[in-house]
């Protein structure tokens, strides 16, 4: 294991987000806070409790999840797409490092950023709405696993994309809709019976539900289904990344 190389990539990636602190940290925190203000503090007081939790508190885990998914994907995808776009990828490909080490550096940095963001947003949320965390360790586990998995997905997108449009495509057209429809703003019990079944096909439901469980001890699906789903995601993403490097897809002609 070439830890020095991993560290070099990791540190450079972290430094990149510090250089762009407004875009990579301040902006997601502000936009998520706006949701808390509008849906939690303003409208939330007029909505009755959901599953015995005030509406403002109910949406906290889902909103953090929404931010986590989109930020992980866009951070990680940009991280690897940019060197491909500018051509500096040559240096990474010619360095004496394994593919695993490259992924560890890039995805590790993207996931770290997401976890930090998640914690900042969590702290910010507590300023607007009162909430409790029933299982803090599980909450952290979900935070880390989700950040990691979706950073891997972002890495894959960053390699697949051959232009800036494709880079935005998945976060905007797939992740955001799935998260909005994945129980961020509602419990799926509130849906008509047919949609309750259909919505189970949405993988984000399991993530939001599991995360919410770690806050309030209850979710739309069992905590084990949520953990199973995130593990499955992680496994699939790892398999795809492995295939990308073995085949040289979009990296090595």
């Amino acid at each position: 294991m070439n830890w020095r190389s991993v560290k070099t990539i990791y540190v450079a990636e972290m430094a990149r987000s510090l250089r762009t602190v407004l875009q990579s940290i301040v902006s997601p925190v502000i936009s998520t806070s706006l949701y808390f203000v509008v849906f939690g503090a303003a409208i939330g007081t007029r909505i009755s409790e959901v599953d015995g939790v005030s509406y403002g508190a109910f949406i906290v885990p889902g909103l953090i999840m929404l931010m986590l998914l989109t930020q992980s994907v866009s951070n990680a995808s940009f991280g690897i797409f940019f060197p491909r776009f500018t051509g500096t990828i040559y240096e990474i490909l010619s360095a004496p490092i394994s593919y695993f080490e490259v992924v560890l550096g890039f995805v590790g940095a993207a996931a770290t950023k997401s976890v930090i963001l998640g914690l900042i947003v969590l702290a910010t949320a507590s300023l607007f709405v009162p909430f409790t965390i029933a299982h803090p360790l599980m909450m952290l586990l979900f935070l880390v696993l989700t950040s990691l998995t979706f950073s891997l997905l972002g890495f894959i997108i960053g390699i697949w994309a051959d232009g800036f449009e494709k880079l935005q495509l998945v976060p905007l057209l797939v992740i955001t809709p799935l998260t909005f429809l994945g129980g961020t703003f509602y419990s799926i019990d509130m849906l008509p019976p047919v949609w309750q079944v259909v919505t189970l096909a949405n993988p984000v439901v399991y993530l939001v539900s599991g995360f919410r469980w770690s806050f309030y001890g209850m979710g739309d699906v069992s905590i084990w289904a949520s953990l199973g789903m995130i593990a499955l995601f992680l496994a699939v993403s790892l398999a795809v990344v492995n295939w990308i490097f073995r085949s040289g897809y979009r990296l090595k002609p």
Partner: protein, 316 residues
């Protein structure tokens, strides 16, 4: 593979997905400590060859050993010995010179060494620019940064893909100096170039690649000797209308409206035990006898460029 060989390329071929065959069974040995120039027209396979050796492109067949290490199975050992300066001027636009060069060193797994980085930056006249962001640098300076990045991990072998493309003459001379001093420090240098002048100026050996095949690998001196020709031009005091009978035995042509006599001879005849290029003394004696006087003379040897053009044309 002997100790003197630092890169061993055997039967290397590359067919791109498009079906284009960029390399057709290349065999090549690079000697430790030499400057090897790879010449060839656009699309001949120069960059592909370098890219395969450095690990940027997968080979379709054949193998590459770097200092005895297979560049696929033992890529860590192989790659750690190589520094690559790419053709394109790329770089993290918003990084500083210092940061980007330090990054390269770390990426190759070497412990940080501000002393070494300073040495490199100074030798490339980049020290004053160390805090500048890449985006603010000129093309020539960016090229130097790329060289600094490639040298950051103290490689034994340096690949320079078109190092002086788009670089002004003065800077090109500076760059040559840098390359020479690297060689003095024992670094093996492989460069591709369009500027034949560059190969002529610097290389110990020359390889010519054409349509994916190495058509020639030769010592530069040997190549110039074998394929070059020399011409002696005599500027006459009085113009001639035709070559006099007395001089018919020499290979002469009349040029510049009869103001110059040009004697062409084979450069290869030089140095083969003959003190003097064959025929010059006789020619001068015959001129004297024929009463032809000249006011000036010069000799010129065909350049590598002419040799190269004729080689590449041959196969076209």
């Amino acid at each position: 593979m002997s100790d003197a060989t630092v890169i061993h390329v055997e039967g290397l071929s590359k067919v791109y997905d498009s079906g284009f065959q960029a390399l057709k069974g290349i065999d090549l040995e690079i000697r430790r400590g030499e400057i090897f120039a790879l010449l060839g027209p656009n699309g001949a396979g120069k960059t592909t060859l370098i890219s395969v050796i450095c690990g940027l492109v997968n080979a379709s067949g054949g193998k590459v050993l770097v200092d005895g290490h297979d560049n696929v199975h033992d890529y860590r050992e192989a790659r750690s010995r190589i520094g690559l300066v790419p053709q394109e001027l790329t770089g993290e636009a918003f990084s500083t010179v210092w940061d980007t060069v330090s990054f390269s060193r770390g990426l190759f797994g070497k412990p940080a060494s501000p002393v070494h980085i300073e040495k490199i930056l100074r030798s490339l006249s980049l020290w004053e620019k160390r805090r500048s962001k890449l985006i603010t640098l000129s093309g020539g300076m960016k090229r130097r940064v790329l060289i600094a990045k490639a040298l950051a991990h103290e490689p034994q072998i340096l690949f320079l893909d078109e190092p002086t493309a788009g670089v002004d003459v003065e800077l090109r001379r500076d760059m040559w100096e840098v390359v020479r001093s690297l060689r003095e420090n024992g670094v093996t240098i492989i460069l591709t170039t369009h500027y034949i002048e560059e190969a002529e100026e610097m290389a110990d050996r020359i390889g010519v690649i054409r349509a994916g095949e190495l058509v020639l690998v030769e010592e530069k001196r040997e190549l110039m000797r074998k394929l070059g020709s020399k011409a002696l031009t005599l500027h006459l005091s009085e113009p001639l209308t035709r070559i006099p009978e007395a001089l018919a035995g020499h290979d002469l042509t009349l040029e510049e409206d009869g103001h110059a006599l040009v004697y062409t001879y084979d450069a290869a005849r030089q140095g083969e035990g003959e003190e003097e290029p064959a025929g010059i003394a006789e020619l001068l004696a015959d001129l004297e006898a024929a009463g032809i006087h000249f006011k000036d003379l010069h000799t010129r040897q065909s350049s590598l460029e002419e040799i190269f053009v004729s080689l590449v044309r041959e196969g076209a």
